[in-house]
């Protein structure tokens, strides 16, 4: 299941958005942000990984469900919002779905900008919004059984800091 595209016609041809089962290569993504891009002095990226503890202990993996018809649309809106707030040249966003195991990569967000402040803030903003606005759900696999991850209040609060800007 691969579903990838440029974000929209109104955006830079360099923007990239993908919801996919397969892994991604951070070096490749970084190179795409950097290639033929002498206008930008800053690239910031984040990668999220499957860790061995969460609300349950002894996590052995997780299954990521999503709402296929909506996922890409929701992510494109978040990118659009970030680009309206900061001068970003390129945005690359990849989110994996399906069965993942410990240390697997889940998500990549990379942005380029002329200046580092915009790149740092926009990358942070995109992750905070993704965690509350994009239709993904994690089901953890543990040695004691499987359960759905609960959403956290701290993720809700994380959005507050962006409201006034």
């Amino acid at each position: 299941m691969t579903d990838s595209s440029n974000v929209s016609d109104s955006h830079s041809d360099f923007d990239f958005l993908s919801v996919q089962e397969q892994d991604f290569d951070v070096a490749f993504e970084y190179a795409q942000l950097r290639e033929n891009n002498s206008q930008d002095g800053a690239i910031v990226f984040f990668s999220g990984l499957v860790r061995d503890f969460n609300q349950g202990n002894d996590v052995t993996g997780l299954y990521l469900e999503h709402y296929p018809a909506m996922t890409e649309k929701a992510l494109a809106k978040i990118i659009e919002e970030a680009k309206s707030r900061w001068p970003l040249s390129r945005v690359r966003l990849i989110h994996r779905v399906g069965q993942l195991y410990l240390s697997d990569q889940i998500v990549f967000v990379g942005v380029s900008s002329s200046h580092r402040e915009a790149a740092f803030e926009a990358c942070h903003f995109i992750m905070d919004y993704l965690k509350k606005k994009a239709p993904f759900w994690k089901k953890e696999t543990t040695k004691k059984g499987d359960w759905w991850v609960e959403s956290l209040e701290k993720d809700e609060k994380a959005l507050d800091k962006w409201q006034d800007q």
């Binding site: 018809a69 929701a74 989110h95 965690k131 239709p135 759900w137 994690k138 759905w148 959403s151």
Partner: protein, 82 residues
């Protein structure tokens, strides 16, 4: 006809991933929710959850949002991606 879809824990609780509803439109998401409860009273404890999120035609909305014939209405638990 309104297409209703459920995801994640809610889909498992209702043992249903999608269904169709005949409702007079336009109506609201809350009306759709009420129609589901009328048809499936046993869903009360899962569907009446205030934390549930909803979307109409793949845009997240509040429960007073309008629904028209042919729309897709989704109900799901708070999201946990990233």
């Amino acid at each position: 006809m309104i297409n209703v879809v459920f995801f994640a824990q809610l889909r498992e609780q209702l043992k249903t991933d999608q269904l169709q509803l005949e409702l007079s439109t336009p109506c609201t998401v809350a009306d759709v929710q009420q129609a589901l409860l009328d048809n499936h009273p046993q869903w009360q404890e899962f569907l009446a959850n205030r934390a549930l999120m909803c979307a109409v035609n793949q845009d997240m909305v509040q429960s007073d949002a309008m629904v028209n014939d042919g729309n897709e209405v989704a109900f799901f638990p708070p999201v946990t991606g990233g």
